[in-house]
């Protein structure tokens, strides 16, 4: 794994200046590495990690278990991709176990998510059943504990 990618995975800010400074590289070298990662699709994009409780826009998040019929050619792929393309779907995974797809959905409000499930998702031919779970409260978001506990630790400013 490239050292740029390693640093990013540890939570470093995606700023070429900062990454170059920390790694002792030329900025151009880091930019080239980031470009390479994006071009070969190792790096798909950038998203900030928000504390959902601080973003009071009323958005609703849900996790949906979906059972679908596999097809003679392609198995689950065609249906999975058809579902994944919806704007409401943040992530979509093929799962082992009691259902086939696990999808993460966001909507402006509960009604919008309900409408997505009942009118779009459940009506697709090949979708056998759905089970929707609304997220109530986050405790950890992309490795960040909520609430942040680091402030609570009272460490000595200087120690031997």
């Amino acid at each position: 794994m490239s050292d740029v990618l390693t640093l990013l995975l540890e939570g470093a800010k995606p700023c070429a200046d900062h990454l170059a400074n920390v790694l002792g590289k030329e900025k151009a070298e880091v930019e080239a590495e980031l470009r390479r990662l994006e071009e070969d699709k190792s790096l798909l994009g950038w998203l900030p990690v928000f504390n959902p409780e601080k973003i009071e826009d009323g958005r609703v998040r849900a996790v949906i278990e979906v059972k679908i019929s596999p097809e003679r050619e392609g198995g689950f792929d065609r249906l999975a991709m058809r579902i994944a393309r919806f704007e409401e779907v943040e992530s979509c995974y093929l799962m082992s176990g009691g259902f086939d797809l696990l999808i993460f959905v966001t909507g402006k409000n509960l009604r919008k998510v309900a409408a997505f499930v009942s009118e779009r998702l459940a009506t697709i031919e090949g979708v056998l059943s759905t089970s929707t779970h609304f997220l109530l409260r986050p405790y950890k978001e992309q490795r960040h504990l909520l609430p942040d506990e680091t402030e609570a630790v009272d460490k000595l400013a200087v120690s031997p």
């Binding site: 920390v22 002792g24 460490k155 000595l156 400013a157 200087v158 120690s159 031997p160």
Partner: protein, 397 residues
């Protein structure tokens, strides 16, 4: 008439100087907004699986004393870990003592072996407690300087030159706090020959052993003829990020461990049981987390050393520990003035080198046990501070 409390303080305690770090801490604590590179402990919290093991132990009702020597399960786990990492094998029944951190292990080791006036050779700059611990054990501490031009590595010739009649032990700490100096096999072999020749016991604090970035960590007890004359002291504070658990251990010949245990049982009884339970978990399942933290320290080290050299503060690359020890000679300031002015004028805390003994003069200790953001900002501020000092100097001329 008011009581003269001073008259009750033992003279050898009265004569003991306060730690320079303590004085500096008092200044830093007035400036909570400062970026601190003065922290001598990991910035990582103890890995969750270890903390969770302590919680589980508490839930189970593990709230009692343990065997003075520590839980047998812990001593077995220590024995296995030490054999794997350091080399020598120790009998969990008689050759291992769990202690309240390595600090207690140093204290009881010195008290167990020293008669009043016995001399102990130790290298300096070093961790702040070594000389005071010798003094409190009624021994005489003899410093042996390590040199910047050697990157503060072990210098066996200096130990040989410093020897004098009455020397009973060597006190070692490689990798070293505050310099990051290490001891390679060849130098340790020469020191081992010296210890055997002069019939010296070696007390070796190897708390930073796992945090060795270049080459292998060689424990002196692993060399031929040295296990029988070495007390290996180790613990969980640094590599396992468990400073607050206060748990360490000593491995050595049964007679010496028994002597240490006698002191330990009267003054400490045993190490806290919850910390012992956490330590077992750390030894059995902690390797991956230790490797992850070490990798981060390694990259931060490369960054801070490069920055110090770019700034014009000559800095060797510490082969172990999580401290950089740059020279501040180019600023024309003493290490104490540098540290105090840097704190007041640029709000960055580093520790003056002389807090670790006179041989640490003209240097400061900068811990890289902090985030990249802090390291970047702190070193930028140090660069501006140095520029300002040089501008002042040229204006004065």
């Amino acid at each position: 008439m008011s009581l003269d409390h001073e008259s009750f303080v033992a003279s050898h305690v009265k004569d003991l100087p306060r730690s320079g770090i303590r004085d500096f801490f008092a200044v830093v604590s007035e400036m909570p907004q400062a970026i601190s590179l003065g922290i001598g402990e990991p910035d990582f919290a103890t890995p969750w699986h270890v903390r969770e093991a302590a919680i589980f132990a508490l839930e189970k009702g593990c709230t009692s004393y343990t065997d003075n020597r520590g839980l047998l399960r812990l001593r077995r786990a220590i024995s296995k870990y030490v054999a794997g990492f350091f080399g020598p094998e120790y009998d969990p029944a008689s050759e291992i003592l769990a202690t309240v951190g390595v600090s207690e292990a140093i204290d009881v080791a010195l008290r167990a072996i020293l008669n009043p006036g016995d001399k102990v050779l130790y290298h300096e700059p070093c961790y702040v407690s070594y000389a005071p611990s010798v003094t409190l054990a009624l021994g005489v501490a003899i410093p042996v300087g390590t040199k910047p031009e050697d990157e503060f590595a072990l210098d066996p010739a200096a130990f040989e030159a410093a020897w004098e009649p009455g020397c009973k032990a060597l006190l070692l700490n490689f990798p070293t706090n505050p310099t990051g100096g290490t001891a390679d096999r060849e130098k340790l072999q020469r020191l081992a020959r010296f210890a055997i020749d002069k019939n010296l016991l070696v007390i070796s604090d190897e708390i930073y052993g796992e945090l060795t970035y270049e080459g292998e960590h060689v424990g002196i007890a692993s060399l031929p003829g040295m296990k029988e004359r070495t007390l290996l002291l180790h613990g969980f504070s640094k590599a396992f990020a468990m400073t607050g658990f206060r748990i360490g251990y000593a491995c050595g010949p049964a007679v010496l461990i028994e002597a240490m245990m006698k002191i330990h049982q009267y003054c400490m009884m045993c190490a806290p049981i919850l910390s012992q339970e956490a330590a077992v978990e750390a030894l059995v399942n902690g390797a991956e987390e230790v490797a992850r933290m070490k990798e981060q320290y390694h990259r931060r080290r490369d960054f801070i050393v490069r920055r110090f050299n770019e700034i014009g503060l000559s800095c060797h690359s510490p082969r172990g520990s999580f401290y950089a020890f740059p020279s501040i000679l180019s600023t024309g300031l003493s290490d104490t003035d540098f540290a105090h002015r840097l704190l007041r004028e640029s709000e960055v805390a580093v520790v003056p080198g002389t807090a670790f003994g006179e041989h640490g003069s003209d240097h400061v200790r900068a811990s890289f046990s902090t985030s990249y953001e802090n390291l970047v900002e702190a070193t930028d501020r140090i660069a501006r501070f140095r520029d300002d000092i040089l501008t002042e100097d040229s204006a004065a001329v």
